[in-house]
């Protein structure tokens, strides 16, 4: 299993029956492949779908139906479509239970940077700023460190913020971390690491939970 699959599988365990869930492009999208048995979720896509289904098979697709990345998708029976204003009324209005998205940096206040590296990468925030502001629970799903090994979980983000104090949980290949008023709480570590290793790879101080679980 790849690192991405590992993260996606762990994130999926956070979802509850009946949740309205928005999954960002890339890794977060893979969460849909690991929904536990007996759990039904409603996938929201900010371009205007509730009840988004799987990626269509090789036998054809309807390109009237795309996801927020512009790629063809299917919808479930009983799905609905709507315009962008209503889609973000759902999002901003607190009707999305869980948003899962990636980030470049997260800090101990729960602020995140995901949409811009000044002078280098300026894709735009798309729906991310509204999603992290409006969703009841925001989960950051990302690799624990950057490619060069530098921490992404910081005392304070250094890139321009996508939102301030909005993240509830961080799931990486190494750890599950909760953002609390007291700071970042290490709740679980991967079976192939230790709390100490996680702390070493994290700039922000970690509060150790009483019983650190494993995944």
């Amino acid at each position: 299993m790849s690192i991405k699959e590992k993260i996606a599988r762990r994130v999926a365990k956070e979802l509850n029956d009946g949740d309205v869930v928005n999954l960002g492009i890339g890794l977060p999208t893979m969460v849909a492949d690991y929904i536990p048995d007996g759990i039904t979720i409603h996938l929201q896509s900010e371009n205007g779908i509730l009840g988004m289904g799987a990626v269509p098979g090789a036998d054809g697709y309807d390109s009237n139906i795309v996801n927020a990345g512009g790629k063809p998708v299917t919808v479930e029976k009983g799905a609905s479509y709507f315009d962008s204003a209503f889609s973000f009324a759902i999002i901003r209005g607190g009707h999305v239970n869980v948003t899962v998205l990636g980030a470049l940096q997260v800090d101990q206040q729960g602020s995140l940077a995901s949409h811009i590296i000044p002078g280098k990468m300026v894709p735009g925030m798309g729906g991310a700023m509204d999603l992290v502001t409006g969703s009841k629970k925001v989960i950051i799903a990302m690799t624990h460190t950057a490619k060069d090994g530098t921490p992404k979980i910081l005392n304070n983000i250094t890139l321009p913020p996508t939102a301030v104090c909005k993240v509830h949980q961080i799931v990486t290949e190494l750890a599950v971390i909760e953002v609390t008023k007291e700071g970042l709480v290490l709740k679980e570590v991967s079976v192939d690491t230790t709390p100490e290793e996680v702390a070493a790879k994290t700039e922000a101080p970690l509060i150790m939970a009483e019983n650190i679980g494993h995944f």
Binding site: S45, E46, N47, G48, I49, D62, S63, N64, I65, V66, A68, G69, G70, V75, Y81, F82, D83, S84, A85, S87, F88, I91, R92, S111, V122, P123, G124, M125, G126, G127, A128, M129, D130, T133, G134, P160, P161, T162, A163, V164, C165
Partner: protein, 219 residues
């Protein structure tokens, strides 16, 4: 509402016009109107749209010609030329959170003086804007957006200009139809008045000034 050719529809769009274009990553973008606009070799257009399209689809095709000097959008990541033009100073890009962009266009069409959103608080988005406190909570005041023209795409239009959008092609199209001085709609199919269920009309015909048929089918 007048049924016209794509060329007639865009005839009054000139250099410097502010143009909203519907679509989300080119899904729901009126490609035949983009074609007609490209033919005109315009300059200094301001485009308001969800995104910059791709190199080969939607708004990206227009950007490639150099006709756009300013883009107001939420996402430009799928079209590398947008970022390049921005870095070279050829095009100004104003990035707006997607939900805010949708509300701003809606507000422009709905006669609102603005809307208060929590989105963007504490980020570069709030710079230069009024921050208003309501019952102890701060919100960013976002102003309405309007345009000279809106180019939108419908799956089905009727003879009165009523529009129906299939699946995710709806996106920004209905709001843009309310927020521009002149609204030009391209439809896959034009049917008789009354053939679209009255409850399923997402854009009433009164909003459409020019209707063009022949938008390619997607399936």
């Amino acid at each position: 509402m007048r049924k016209v050719s794509p060329q007639e529809a865009v005839a009054s769009i000139n250099d410097g016009a502010v143009v909203m274009i519907g679509g989300f990553m080119s899904n729901g973008t009126p490609e035949i109107l983009i074609d007609a606009l490209i033919e005109k070799n315009l300059k200094n257009l301001t485009i308001i749209a969800n995104d910059g399209g791709t190199l080969d689809t939607g708004i990206g095709r227009l950007i490639k010609t150099g006709a756009v000097s300013r883009l107001i959008a939420s996402h430009i990541g799928l079209n590398p030329l947008t970022g390049q033009f921005m870095n070279e100073g050829k095009m100004e890009v104003q990035l707006v959170p997607q939900g805010t962009l949708a509300e701003q266009i809606r507000a422009g069409g709905a006669g609102l003086g603005g809307i208060l959103t929590p989105t963007g608080l504490g980020t570069e988005i709030e710079e230069g804007k009024q921050v208003i406190e309501v019952d102890g909570t701060n919100f960013v005041l976002e102003k309405p957006l309007k345009a000279d023209f809106a180019l939108i795409r419908a799956s089905i239009a009727d003879e009165k200009g009523n529009l129906f959008y299939r699946a995710t092609t709806r996106n920004f199209n209905p709001m843009m139809a309310t927020a521009a001085e002149t609204v030009i709609a391209a439809a896959e199919e034009i049917v008789a008045a009354g053939d679209i269920q009255a409850e399923s009309v997402a854009t009433p015909g009164i909003f459409v000034d020019f209707l063009v048929g022949g938008e390619p089918y997607v399936d």
